[in-house]
Structures are given as C-alpha cells and as structure tokens.
C-alpha cells in the first residue's frame, strides 16, 4: 500500500509549497484581492458560497459527465464502424480530422439557437462534440495500427475480419481509447463551463464565475474555479482508474511508467 501511494507525495508537497508561496507573496507585496486573492480568502469564499457552489457544481458536473459519456460512446462506436468498413476510412477520417481543427467552442451560440438558450442540451451538445473527436481519432488509430504480422498470423489461421476486429483490433485499440478518455475527462469540464459562458441555465459554474467577476467578487469567482478543478480532477482520477483496471496486462510494465 505504501509503495502505491508513494508517487502521490511529491506532487502534494510541491502543491503545498506553491500554495504557501502564493499566500506569502500576496501578503508580502500587498497584492490587491481583485488581482489575485489569497488562497485563504478563496477557501473562505468556498465555505461562504458553499450552497450555491454545490448546486452549480452539481449541475455543471452533470452536463460534463453526460456530454463525456455520450461523446465517448459515439466516438468509440463510430471508430469501430469505420474500422470494420474500410471504404469509409478514406472519406470520414480526414473529414473528422479537419473538423477537429475547427474551434468547436465557436459552435456554442449555434447550439443555443438549435436547442434554446436556456436548454441544458445546448451546453451538453458542446461537451459531446469536444469529447467526441479525441476519442474517435485515437480509437481509430488504435484499431488501425496493428502489427502487420499479427494480421497475417490471423489470416493464416483463417480468421474472419470480424474475428480479427474482436480478437486483435479492439484489444489493440484499448490503450489508445483509454488515453483519449483520460484526455477527454478534464476537457469535458472545460467545455461545459465555456459553453455556459455563452448562455444556458443560470445556476451553473460558468454564470457563477462571470457574475461574481463582473461584481468584482473575485474570491467567489476563484472559489468556483476551485470547484471546477475538483470536478475535473475527480473525472481524471476516475478515468485513470478505469485505465488501470481494464488493462491488467500493463501492471508493472516498465515500458509504460
């Protein structure tokens, strides 16, 4: 147990040092709270604003998780379909890569028009689209990038394409998929909050940040950022856990420290 938790200590120590320095610098140089509040003021604001923050965090978290799940599932499924039907690859994959290069967040006002500015679906749609692409592209890569010898071996054993997909391509894609999940999890929280800046129901972290900032209550805005980080971190930790549990063969593999 001790050895498993050991890697957690260095980041915790560094984190504590940074937060202490932050506190010390703000105090020593008498930096104004509206520029950079002290960590102690931010934590006080978290306590002070706990009831609205909890509601906002819950709502934003729900948007992020719903968008994450839908985006991950559709991304992985579409990658599977395309891998199975090779002729689709040439047309769909370059298109997806091109779409991925467009700033997806720019779609937020469009989704507001489609689903209604106060409808939760507008924000969820942004999260889905943001999450979809990394999952789709990475999973597709994992399904395609199989050692040619392994495919030859399967063919020499008279395995059908479906069998190759099931026994070789999907397990081969699993690490790629899980890496994309680890990328997508925190991304979903970012996407949800940015989408909320453009509109949607008001009891969310996005509006909470913009409103408090416009009234110069910066400690409150920072408190919402702390809550958002906590949600992002929790989703990241969850996806890292899924990664560990679903690939037992990677346990202790020195090639992936």
């Amino acid at each position: 147990m001790r050895s498993r938790l050991a890697p957690l200590w260095p980041p915790i120590v560094v984190g504590v040092i940074i937060v202490s320095l932050w506190e010390g610098v703000v105090r020593a140089f008498d930096i104004k709270e509206f520029l950079l509040p002290k960590p102690t003021s931010i934590m006080a604001a978290v306590g002070d604003q706990w009831v609205p923050l909890r509601t906002a965090g819950w709502q934003t978290g729900r948007t992020a998780v719903a968008g994450l799940l839908i985006g991950v599932v559709t991304g992985a499924l579409l990658a599977l379909v395309i891998s199975r039907f090779g002729w689709l690859r040439g047309s769909v994959t370059p298109l997806a890569v091109a779409l991925n290069a467009t700033p997806i967040i720019a779609l937020a006002p469009i989704f507001n028009a489609w689903f209604g500015i106060t409808d939760f679906r507008s924000n969820t749609a942004v999260v889905i689209v943001v999450v979809f692409f990394p999952v789709f592209i990475n999973t597709g890569k994992g399904l395609d990038e199989v050692e040619p010898n392994q495919i030859e071996l399967m063919r020499s054993l008279a395995a059908s394409d479906t069998t190759v997909l099931r026994m070789v391509r999907i397990p081969n894609a699993l690490p790629f998929f899980l890496t994309s999940l680890r990328l997508a999890a925190p991304l979903s929280v970012i996407a949800a909050i940015v989408a909320e800046y453009f509109g949607g129901p008001q009891n969310r972290l996005g509006p909470f940040i913009t409103q408090n900032a416009s009234f110069s209550r910066y400690a409150n805005a920072w408190a919402a950022i702390v809550v958002a980080s906590a949600i992002g971190l929790a989703l990241f930790a969850l996806s890292a856990l899924v990664e560990k549990v679903s690939m037992p063969w990677k346990q202790g593999d020195p090639s992936r420290a």
Binding site: E152, S156, L157
Partner: protein, 259 residues
C-alpha cells in the same frame, strides 16, 4: 511418400500489375517440397523470398502460376488451417498471457477449454518454458518470446510451418541455441518447414535443401542439398558444414554479381 507438401509451378508475382510502377517480385518459380522436409529460402534483399513464403501461405496471391499444398489449393489449405506461421517479430499479443497466446490458434479452431489447457502445457514444456504460462509477453526476453511464437505456430500441429526470419532479431548465441531447439521440435513433430533467412550458416545448419534466389526479378538460382545427417553443436565446426556454407556463399556471390 505420398503427395508433396508444396508444388509451385510457374509462380510469378507482379506488384501493381498493369500500372506504371509495376514491380516484378518473382518470375517463373517452380519448386516442390516433400513432406517432412526442411527447406530454406535464401537470397539478397529484394529477391522475393518473403513474397514467396506468403504466396505459399495464401497471404498473397500470385499473378500467374499455381501453388498446391498437400494436393489442395493454397487457399483451401489456409481455410483448413494447415499453416503455422512465425515471423521476425514474435508478434505476441500484449493482452494475452503466454498460455493464452499459445492457445490462440486452438481457440480459433474451436477447441474446448480443457483440451486447450492441456495442449498449451505440452507446448510450454516443448519450448522449455513450463513456468512462464501465466506471464505476460513483456516479462519475457526476446528469445523467450520467439519460443512462445514457435509454440503458438505449432500448437495445433499444422502440416506446414512457414517461418520468415524468425531468429533475425536475436543475438548470435541465442540464435544458435534457438536453431537447435527448432530442429529438436521439428524432429519430434515431423512437420514440413519452409524457412526464410539471410544467414548462410543458419540455412546450412537447419536445412535439407537451400533454395538460393537471385533478385530483380526474383527467380531460383540454384538449389543446394545439405546432407549433414543429424545436427548438433559439433556440426557447426565440421568440415562438411564448412564446405556447405562455402558452397552457399559462392552461389550468393554469383547472384549478387549478376547484372
């Protein structure tokens, strides 16, 4: 002796046939391999030896000519699972334990779990890795991984073993050791082997016959019979072995020197 293991007649392979960048990899290959024979294909890079192996295994279809394997078309032989294959890269599946890797062909052939387990245990002792069944491939050295790959290729007792430079990535000592192991297993199971290599001593040590190929386009230059009896470590230092490696080397030199 019954029907030959392989009969290739007039086999020609042109990649990108009918286009401007057509490349002829093989022309007019006639070769017959007897059951239980160990035949090596040797030649400079680009001579089409790997292509030839893949045509025998129905992984590539020839542009002209035909291949019969135990009296059937190569395609039928593949569907009948007559082939075991091993490559330079062991190509084990990371996510399967060693035992499950060896059992893969058996799974595809629909063997029961008990039968698979029994066979993989036999194969593990055959390749002298009895205690490594529950390891993952990354926990094994390159030579051990290659032994697992050979165990996988032979687990279902295929009639024909096709090997594409299986020891090419191993260090010299491991390689010589693996050659002895392969011969031991080959003798024990009585399979037919077609073995691609570009090592002259390897070809001489392992084979009943060595097929020397010339490049651009690939064709059979000569076939050298190697009659050294039962091989062991002393064979490598015998005069007969020296004579054979010299003969193969000279054939390869004349191949390289050809315009």
């Amino acid at each position: 002796m019954g029907e030959p293991a392989i009969v290739a007649s007039g086999v020609t392979k042109t990649f990108n046939h009918g286009t401007d960048n057509a490349v002829t990899a093989l022309t007019d290959i006639d070769l017959s391999v007897e059951p239980g024979e160990f035949v090596s294909l040797i030649g400079p890079s680009g001579c089409g030896k790997s292509t030839m192996l893949r045509i025998f295994g129905d992984l590539i279809s020839p542009t002209a000519g035909s291949v019969e394997v135990f009296g059937k078309s190569a395609a039928q032989a593949r569907l009948d699972r007559d082939y075991g294959m091993a490559f330079q890269k062991a190509g084990l599946f990371d996510w399967r334990r060693v035992r499950a890797n060896i059992e893969l062909p058996l799974e595809l052939a629909g063997w029961s779990k008990d039968k698979r387990a029994r066979r993989s245990s036999e194969m593990l002792s055959l390749v002298k890795l009895p205690d490594f069944g529950n390891h993952y491939p990354w926990q094994l050295s390159g030579g051990m991984q290659q032994r697992v790959a050979i165990a996988r290729a032979l687990s279902f007792e295929p009639k024909l073993l096709l090997m594409d430079e299986p020891f090419g990535a191993l260090d010299e000592m491991t390689r010589e050791h693996m050659q002895l192991e392969l011969l031991r297993i080959y003798r024990q199971l009585g399979t037919t082997v077609v073995f691609v290599t570009h090592s002259i001593p390897e070809a001489a040590f392992l084979s009943d016959r060595v097929v020397v190929l010339s490049p651009r386009p690939g064709r059979i230059h000569s076939i050298i019979g190697v009659d050294l009896g039962r091989r062991d470590e002393n064979t490598r230092e015998s005069e007969g072995f020296f004579r054979k490696t010299t003969q193969i080397r000279e054939a390869l030199r004349s191949v390289e020197a050809m315009p």
